[in-house]
Amino acid sequence: MTLDEFLSACRQLADDAPHVIAQAESPAQFADIRTQLVGRKQGRLADLMARLPELPAEARRDAGKAVNDVKAAIEQQLAEREAAVRASSAQADALDLSMPSRRRWKGSLHPVTIVIDEICDIFRELGFTIALGPEAETEFYNFTALNFPADHPAMELHDTLYLGEDTLLRTHTSPVQVRTLQQYAPPVRVLAPGNVYRRDFFDATHAPSFMQLEGLAVDEGISFADLKATLGEFARRFYGGARRVRFGPSYFPFVEPGAQMDVEVDLNDGKGLRWVEILGCGMVHPNVIEAAGLDSEKYTGWAFGMGPARIAMSRHDIPDIRLLYDSDVRFLEQFAR
C-alpha cells in the first residue's frame, strides 16, 4: 500500500464519518456507531492503524499524523453528536409534571362525628374524659334515678321506645350520669356522647335515633357560676371569637336550677347575628346525686346535654336530617379531608 492510497483511505473515513455519526439517534445506537468508527479492536480507524506497518518507514510519520487528525475529527464529531443525542433523549423521557398525581381513596368521618370530636377536644382541654353507657337501658337509669316523677307529664317530654315492661331504648345520654357517679367517686368530670332513641317519625327534621352529648361535673363546691363559666368558655372555643352567651330558664327533671344556653351566632344566611339555643343545662338535682349513693349536701355538680346533629346541620347547611343517615357516598365524601 502506498502513502497516497493510505491518505486516500483516511480522507474516505473522514468523509464517511459525519454521515455515519448522524445516524445515531439514541444512546444505544450511539455506542454501536462509536465502536464501528473508532472501536479499538475492529473499528474502521483500527483497520487503518493495522495497515500502518505495510507502509514504507519514511511514509509512516505522515500516515500516522493523518490517522490522528481523522481520529481527532471523528472524536469531536462524536462528542458533539453524543451531547445532542443525550439532550433530545432526556427531553423525550421527561415527565409532564402537570399531569395528575396517582391518588388513593380518601376516607372521611361523619359530619356529626366531626362535631362530637371538636366538642370532646375542647372539654378535654378543660379536664373531661369520655364515659359511655348502654343504649338499651332500664327505666331506673333512664327515668327513675333521673328524678322523673312516675306517671307524670314530664314523661311526655320523652316519647319512649320500650323493649320490655321496664326496659327501653334510652331517650337521652343522661343515664350515663348515674352509672358514672355510681361507679367512680368524685371528682367526676365526664363527657358522654352516644346514640339515643325517641318514638318519632323519620322525616326531614326528626329521627327516631340520633346522637346526643352529655357533660357532667360533680365535686365539692361546684356551682352555677362554674357552669356558666365553663359552658361559656366552651362556646367561645367552639364558635370562636368573643362569642356572647346567655342563660334562660328551662326544665329538665334531673337538674335544679335548670337552664338553657343560647349563643349569638351568624348562620351565614344574611340575617346576621342571632341567639340560637345550643344546649340545656343546670345544677344536678339532689335526688340524682342521692340516687347514685352520694351525699347531696356534700357534693354538687352541673350537667348539660346537646344535639351535635343539629350543630352539624346548621354548620353545613344540611336541610334534611335524613341525609345524615342515608349514607349516600356522594354526601359522605364531601367531608373527606
Binding site: 388513593r104 369520655i130 359511655l132 348502654p134 367517686a185 346514640n195 335515633s209 357560676a225 362554674d226
Partner: protein, 822 residues
C-alpha cells in the same frame, strides 16, 4: 301556651311593649317560641319623619315633602293633609306596602310631582274614622322603626313553651303573676270580670261533705281520690245568646272561637284563670243529680265531639242520676250540652287528680285544654274563687240568677313549707345573695317567708306552686328572678376527675383512624331493621311497623346502605360504621356488642392515566382490611384469619381470631346484595370491639366506687413490645416453586416451611400462584421466597443449599408436596 299582651295588661297594667315583655319572660320565666301581631297587616309600616315640606307647584292643597324613613335616602312624598309639619313623625307606607284596604303603594306622579310612598291617616291604617289629616305619632323612635312597635295598637300573641313543671303558667292569670313579680306592677283582676258574688245570698251546702244538696240539685262524690272536690253552681234563667264583643275579642286574641255566652264564659275562666269549667244543661241531668262514680259494665258516653266512647268498667266518670254524662276533667257529654234553648245550668268547677286524668286521657286518647291542665295540676286552692268568678261572669253575660252552690269534698292541701339556707344559695349559685334579696324575690312570686334560725327561712310556697318542694327548687326561683345572666361566671380551679376514658371509646378512636386511612367513609345509619333472628329484640311500640327490630349485625344495615347507593348508580362504595349490635339474652337487657363493620365494593383505587381501570376490591383486599382493623382494635395481640369452609354458608370467608380465642371476634364475608349487573362484588368485615356493660352498677341509692383512681385503666399494649436488634450480617434468600394439591391449604405448606426453616428463617413470602400449562390437573404451583439470616455470621452457600434440600424433603415426607420441575 298562648298569652295575649292585652289580656295580660288587663291583669298587670305594665308599660312594656310586647317585644319587651317577651324578652322579660324568656329571660326569667319560660322560653318564648314566637310572637304574632294580630295587626300583621301593619307589619310593613314604619315611622316616617318629615324633614322638608313645601307647596306643590300645581296644587293649592297638596304639599311636596321629603320623608326620612330610615333607609338612608330621603323620599319625595306628595301629601294632601293640611297638618303635615316638618320634624314630626307619621305612619309611613313605603312603595311596595299593601294598605289594609288592599291598595298597593307604588311610585307615581301626582300632578307632575313624584311621590315615593304615603303618609297615612288614622282611618287609612284602620285605627278609627279620623281622616282630616295624617296621624301624628307621639314618639321619639328613629325613622324606619316598625310602626307596630311604637303604637299601642293591635294585640300581640306570645307563644310560650310552658314545660310540665310550671302548670301555674297555663293561664293569663298565671303568666300575669310572673309579669307582676318581675315588673313590680301589682296584679289586679281585670275590670271586665265581675266581682265575686255575695255568697250569703245563695243556698250553700255544708263544707267538706262528699254529698251536697240545695235547690233540689245534688252533687255526690263516690270517688274522692279521683275527684277530691266538686263545686256545682246552679244558675237559673240564663238566656243563651252570642257573647258581648269584649268577650269574643278576648277569646279571639288567643285564637279561641266564640260559641255562645255561656260556653264563652267558661272558656274565659279556663284560659284566663286556669280553671277548667263545664256547664251542663240542668234539665238534661236525670234526677237533677251529679254523681262522680265508677262506670258499670256496658256504660258508654257520647262526648261533645260527637264520638261514642266505650268506657272501661270501673273508670270514674261524671254521671247524672242514670248514666255517664261527662268524662271527668276531659270533656263533657253531648246529651247535657248547653244549647240555645237552655235556661238552667249546672256549672261544674272541680279539682281532679292529675294521675287519674292522665290515665283516663291516655285510655280514651282525647287531649283537651281541660285534661292538659288537670294532668299538670290546677290550683286546688282556687276552686272556690274560680266557681264564683265563673258564675258571676255567666250571670253578667247571659243573665240568670245563682240559686245554689253545691260544694262537695275537700281541697288538696297547700304545698308544705320548705327550709332555705342562705349559705346553700351561695354554695349552689357560686355567688353570695343577700338575705333581703332572697326574701324580695321569693315574696314577689307569692311565697311567704319566716326567719328560720339566724341564716335561713321557712318558705311557704303559694298554693299554685306545687313544684316547689325542695331547697333547690327555691334556689332556682331566686336565680331566675335575679336573672341567670346577672349571676357571675367564674372559672374555678378544678380537681382532675377519677374517670378513665371508656376502653371502648379508646378502641373506637384507633379503629376509626385506620378505617379512614384505608379510604372508607364513616356512616351512621338508622339501627333498625325489618327482620331479626329473635323476637325479643322487637321494639314493643314502634311508630312504624316496617322496621321494628334492633339489628343483630352492623353488616345488615351497611348492606342496605350499599343498595341505597347502587340504586343511585354509585358503584364505588366504601363505608364503615362503629355502633351497637344487639342480641337477646336470658337477662332483662339484650347484649350490646360494640362493633366496627366495613363494606367495600368497586374500584380499589381511583382511576389514573397510568391505570384507567383499576382492579375491583377482591377477597384479598377485604382480608387485608380485616387484618388492619383487627390489629388496630387489639394492638399487641395476634390476629388470625381462619378460613371458613362451610358449604352451608358460602358467603363466609374468614373468621377473625384474636390471640388464643376459640370464639371468632369477627368475620369477613361476601355481602349478598341486590346488585345490578354493572356493580362489582361487595365484601364485608365485622369485628366485635367489646360488650357494653349494662348491668346495674349498684342498687338505687348506693354506689360501687372503685378503691383506686387508676382502676379500670388498661395497660398500654406497647408495654409488651420488645426491640429486636438490627441485623449486622447479610441475609440469603432462595425461591421454592412447589406443586401443591388443590385441596392442600397454602397455610399448611407455610407452616411446614416455617417449622423446618427454623430460627434462621427471617421472612417467608408467597409470591406466585399458577395453574395451567405444565401443572398437572388437581395441582397448582405455588412459589415462596425464603430469606434466611444468621445473627452472628454470614451464611455459607453450602449451608443454604443443605437447608433447602432438607426443607424439600420434609415437605415431601409430611405433605407429599414436590418441587415443580419444569
Amino acid at each position: 301556651m298562648i298569652v295575649s299582651h292585652e289580656w295580660l295588661r288587663a291583669f298587670v297594667p305594665h308599660e312594656l311593649s310586647a317585644a319587651q315583655l317577651g324578652e322579660l319572660l324568656s329571660r326569667h320565666v319560660v322560653t318564648l317560641d314566637g310572637m304574632e301581631s294580630l295587626r300583621a297587616d301593619l307589619a310593613d309600616f314604619v315611622v316616617g319623619r318629615v324633614v322638608e315640606a313645601g307647596k306643590h307647584p300645581d296644587s293649592d292643597h297638596l304639599s311636596v315633602t321629603k320623608v326620612d324613613d330610615g333607609s338612608g335616602e330621603l323620599k319625595d312624598v306628595v301629601c294632601g293633609a293640611p297638618n303635615v309639619e316638618v320634624g314630626k313623625s307619621y305612619p309611613f307606607a313605603r312603595t311596595g306596602t299593601v294598605m289594609p284596604g288592599g291598595l298597593l303603594i307604588a311610585k307615581r306622579k301626582i300632578r307632575g310631582a313624584v311621590s315615593n310612598g304615603m303618609l297615612c291617616s288614622a282611618r287609612e291604617i284602620g285605627l278609627g274614622d279620623e281622616h282630616e289629616g295624617i296621624y301624628t305619632l307621639d314618639t321619639d323612635a328613629a325613622p324606619g322603626t316598625p310602626l307596630l312597635s311604637v303604637l299601642p295598637i293591635g294585640d300581640v300573641r306570645l307563644d310560650l313553651d310552658v314545660l310540665p313543671n310550671r302548670p301555674d303558667l297555663l293561664s293569663q292569670l298565671g303568666v300575669a303573676r310572673e309579669v307582676s313579680a318581675l315588673t313590680g306592677v301589682p296584679l289586679t283582676m281585670p275590670a271586665e270580670l265581675p266581682p265575686l258574688p255575695d255568697s250569703e245570698s245563695v243556698g250553700t251546702s255544708a263544707f267538706g261533705e262528699t254529698e251536697a244538696t240545695a235547690d233540689g240539685v245534688t252533687v255526690k262524690l263516690e270517688d274522692t281520690q279521683a275527684c277530691p272536690r266538686y263545686i256545682g253552681v246552679v244558675i237559673r234563667g240564663v238566656k243563651v245568646a252570642p257573647s258581648p264583643a269584649w268577650l269574643v275579642e278576648r277569646l279571639q286574641s288567643l285564637g279561641v272561637r266564640a260559641i255562645n255566652n255561656v260556653v264563652d264564659a267558661t272558656n274565659y275562666i279556663l284560659h284566663g284563670l286556669g280553671q277548667p269549667v263545664h256547664a251542663f244543661d240542668l234539665s238534661m241531668l236525670s234526677g237533677q243529680r251529679i254523681v262522680v262514680r265508677a262506670t258499670r259494665e256496658g256504660e258508654s258516653l257520647v262526648t261533645l265531639d260527637g264520638t261514642q266512647r266505650a268506657l272501661a268498667t270501673g273508670t270514674t266518670v261524671i254521671c247524672d242520676g242514670d248514666r255517664p254524662t261527662a268524662l271527668a276533667g276531659i270533656m263533657g257529654g253531648e246529651a247535657s250540652e248547653v244549647n240555645d234553648g237552655t235556661t238552667d245550668i249546672l256549672l261544674e268547677v272541680a279539682w281532679f287528680d292529675p294521675a287519674f286524668v292522665r290515665r283516663v286521657r291516655k285510655a280514651v286518647q282525647l287531649n283537651t285544654d281541660a285534661s292538659y291542665r288537670f294532668e299538670r295540676g290546677v290550683d286546688a286552692a282556687f276552686t272556690g274563687k274560680a266557681s264564683g268568678y265563673a258564675a258571676a261572669l255567666i250571670t253578667a253575660v247571659a243573665g240568670g240568677r245563682i240559686t245554689a252552690v253545691l260544694d262537695a269534698g275537700k281541697a288538696r292541701t297547700a304545698p308544705a313549707p320548705v327550709a332555705l339556707r342562705v349559705a346553700r344559695v351561695e354554695r349552689l349559685l357560686g355567688a353570695p345573695v343577700k338575705a333581703g334579696e332572697i326574701q324580695r324575690t321569693l315574696t314577689s312570686i307569692g311565697c311567704v317567708l319566716e326567719a328560720d334560725g339566724e341564716s335561713g327561712f321557712m318558705v311557704k310556697p303559694p298554693a299554685w306552686r306545687h313544684d316547689l318542694t325542695l331547697e333547690a327548687d327555691l334556689i332556682e326561683e331566686v336565680a331566675r328572678l335575679i336573672g341567670f345572666d346577672a349571676l357571675p361566671d367564674v372559672v374555678q380551679p378544678f380537681r382532675p376527675g377519677t374517670v378513665p376514658d371508656h376502653a371502648l371509646h379508646v378502641t373506637s378512636r384507633r379503629v376509626r383512624d385506620v378505617c379512614v386511612a384505608a379510604g372508607l367513609a364513616e356512616t351512621r345509619p338508622m339501627p333498625f331493621v325489618a327482620t331479626a333472628e329473635h323476637e325479643s329484640l322487637r321494639v314493643r311500640n314502634p311508630l312504624a311497623d316496617d322496621e321494628p327490630y334492633l339489628r343483630g349485625s352492623l353488616l345488615t344495615t351497611l348492606a342496605s346502605r350499599a343498595e341505597y347507593n347502587l340504586s343511585r348508580m354509585q358503584g364505588n362504595v366504601r363505608l364503615f360504621e362503629i355502633g351497637s349490635a344487639f342480641t337477646a339474652t336470658d337477662g332483662r337487657l339484650p347484649r350490646e356488642d360494640v362493633r366496627v363493620a366495613a363494606l367495600v365494593m368497586g374500584a380499589l383505587r381511583p382511576p389514573h392515566f397510568t391505570e384507567p381501570e383499576p382492579p375491583a376490591y377482591s377477597a384479598w383486599d377485604a382480608k387485608a382490611l380485616a387484618e388492619e382493623i383487627a390489629s388496630a382494635a387489639f394492638p399487641g395481640s395476634a390476629v388470625t384469619l381462619e378460613p371458613v369452609n362451610d358449604s352451608d354458608r358460602p358467603q363466609l370467608l374468614w373468621d377473625i381470631l384474636v390471640d388464643d380465642d376459640t370464639i371468632a371476634r369477627g368475620r369477613v364475608v361476601r355481602v349478598a346484595l341486590d346488585r345490578p349487573v354493572w356493580a362489582d362484588e361487595a365484601f364485608g368485615v365485622e369485628i366485635s370491639l367489646g360488650v357494653m356493660s349494662s348491668h346495674d352498677v349498684a342498687p338505687a341509692g348506693e354506689h360501687a366506687h372503685v378503691a383506686s383512681a387508676t382502676a379500670g385503666r388498661t395497660r398500654s399494649p406497647w408495654a409488651n413490645v420488645r426491640y429486636t436488634p438490627l441485623p449486622t450480617f447479610p441475609a440469603a434468600s432462595f425461591d421454592v416453586a412447589l406443586l401443591v394439591p388443590t385441596d392442600c391449604a397454602a397455610a399448611k405448606v407455610e407452616a411446614v416451611l416455617r417449622e423446618s426453616g427454623g430460627e434462621l428463617l427471617e421472612r417467608l413470602e408467597l409470591f406466585d400462584e399458577f395453574r395451567g400449562d405444565g401443572v398437572p390437573a388437581g395441582f397448582r404451583s405455588l412459589a415462596w421466597r425464603l430469606t434466611l439470616r444468621h445473627p452472628e455470621r454470614t451464611l455459607r452457600d453450602k449451608e443454604i443449599d443443605g437447608r433447602r434440600a432438607r426443607l424439600l424433603q420434609t415437605l415431601e415426607r409430611e405433605l407429599g408436596v414436590r418441587p415443580r420441575t419444569s
